[in-house]
């Protein structure tokens, strides 16, 4: 009962490039603007979102025939909240080093638009296999976007990359502030659109 014609690999690649959640779909701008202050933040949050997205997509896809249409959104929210809690507790118990770094971010994921949107647009209609690849693609697309944003802001804001002093001085501390997040996200969106246009032109589309 699948309504999409795309193959699994196409779904996966689209999530990262053609339908990148932050640069193309403009979803989950809150973390993109507020938390993308360093590459490490991007990696940590990206991994957490990836797990939550994949698990939530799979769960909703499995129960999609039993969800009452009028309480779709509460069901999505409950699923996401449950998975976020489970991941938070499991990290705290078995991977304390990661928990110390990520703990603060994991709890925020419940409010992200990208996951709820993906469940509503895709997972509640598509079978398990397709939902898994879509979730994986979207999660990785999010992580990729956060890492790129984090790299730009960390390098220009504090002269560091992944905590290592690359430049030795802080070019423009402004880039670490939330207002700069808006600027950088907007500029990156324009940049990626430009790349896409140039690529399509080259391909003769």
């Amino acid at each position: 009962m699948s309504t999409t014609m795309k193959s699994n690999t196409q779904l996966f690649m689209d999530g990262i490039l053609k339908e990148n959640p932050i640069f193309k779909l403009a979803l989950s701008m809150c973390p993109a603007v507020g938390i993308s202050t360093s590459v490490m933040n991007g990696i940590l949050l990206g991994t957490a979102v990836l797990f939550v997205q994949v698990f939530s997509s799979c769960t909703i896809s499995l129960i999609r025939n039993y969800i009452h249409p009028k309480i779709r959104i509460p069901t999505y929210t409950l699923t996401i909240a449950t998975w976020v809690t489970v991941i938070d507790l499991v990290l705290a118990a078995y991977v304390p080093a990661a928990y110390k770094a990520m703990g603060m971010f994991v709890r925020l994921i419940v409010a992200f638009a990208i996951i709820t949107m993906r469940l509503e647009m895709f997972a509640c209609r598509e079978p398990l296999g397709k939902s898994f690849w879509d979730g994986l693609g979207m999660g990785l697309g999010f992580m990729f976007a956060m890492i790129v944003l984090g790299a730009v802001r960390e390098l220009l804001g504090s002269g560091m990359l992944l905590g290592y002093d690359v430049l030795g001085f802080k070019p423009l501390l402004f880039f670490v502030l939330p207002s700069a997040g808006f600027f950088v996200v907007g500029l990156m969106m324009a940049f990626f659109n430009w790349i896409e246009v140039a690529y399509n032109r080259k391909k003769g589309v």
């Binding site: 509460p74 409950l78 507790l89």
Partner: protein
């Protein structure tokens, strides 16, 4: 009507399933999580006191926890300290009640072992059994006294105070003369690149070795930090032969009484930590002074 019933049922069922999943995960992981937390606190405590791989702790190093409670009796307020006491070779806890001026009121034995006393819930039930029903107690804080070879090595105090965003949780270590041995930032939600720099060595280590007198009047200055001082503070980045013994003691002497250099664009966070540490140190020094006085006067053999 039937729709509403269906919806209510479906929602309730979903909530129940979600709650069971979360509850199950919690029960399975709770023990491991607590253990990890305790280990990280223990490691931080050892590190603060100056022990590590190249400076191992003495084998008889023990931490004795003193729990402070506020006890209300009618209109009167007392401070109740749960102190580990040596009695006939065993360690038991005694609740030593002191009034707000520091005078001894009474002492009661609390039937609880040191391991059990670490659980707030067990402490509360043990205290309920011992205190008369008209006295209400509230937990205030815990401090750890480190001893080795019958001598006090130092104190490790957890503390919490408001930062720029939310609260900052710290661990402060002092030696028996209340000189600050070290400061560790345990939890915070400050901004990355700004307030979060309080975790960096060049900020934290400024507090090391400040004597109690200097600590009491410590302020924050918005002056750029001299490069040499910064290199000295970032101990983990030292290379062989970077500083001679002479240079180290020179730098130490020069900056011993200096105020704390604020983090660029994070003055509020820097001030919050400085004031927070000052308060923790001053309050503890006052309280332990009063407690020691009472313990000596009443001839109570504390385990420290």
């Amino acid at each position: 009507m039937k729709e509403i019933v269906k919806i209510t049922f479906a929602l309730t069922l979903s909530c129940v399933i979600a709650a069971s999943a979360m509850g199950l995960t919690f029960t399975v992981t709770a023990k491991a999580k607590k253990h990890n937390h305790l280990m990280s606190v223990q490691n931080a405590m050892m590190d603060l006191l100056g022990f590590g791989e190249d400076h191992p702790a003495p084998s008889d190093l023990t931490f004795h926890n003193v729990y402070r409670y506020i006890v209300k009796d009618g209109g009167k307020k007392f401070l109740g300290y749960m102190v580990p006491v040596e009695k006939a070779g065993k360690e038991v806890y005694e609740m030593v009640m002191i009034d707000l001026e520091g005078k001894f009121v009474e002492k009661l034995e609390v039937p609880i072992s040191e391991g059990q006393a670490e659980e707030a819930h067990d402490r509360a039930s043990a205290l309920e059994k011992v205190l008369p029903p008209n006295q209400f107690f509230t937990y205030a804080d815990a401090s750890a006294v480190a001893t080795a070879g019958g001598e006090r090595l130092g104190y490790v105090l957890p503390g919490k105070f408001p930062g720029f965003r939310t609260f900052i949780h710290v661990l402060v270590a002092m030696d028996p003369q209340f000189e600050l041995l070290g400061l560790e930032i345990m939890e915070h939600e400050e901004d990355a690149g700004l307030g979060a720099e309080i975790e960096q060595e060049y900020f934290k280590n400024q507090f090391k070795r400040k004597s109690f007198e200097i600590l009491k009047g410590l302020e924050v200055v918005k002056k750029p930090m001299p490069q040499e001082y910064k290199k000295y503070l970032e101990k983990s980045k030292w290379v062989e032969g970077m500083f001679t013994e002479e240079q180290i003691s020179e730098i130490r002497k020069q900056y011993k009484a200096s105020d704390i250099h604020a983090i660029t664009a994070a003055t509020i966070s820097s001030k919050a930590v400085t004031d927070g540490v000052k308060n923790i140190a001053k309050k503890f020094a006052y309280r332990i002074g009063k407690l020691d006085g009472v313990l000596e006067e009443q001839d109570i053999h504390a385990a420290f």
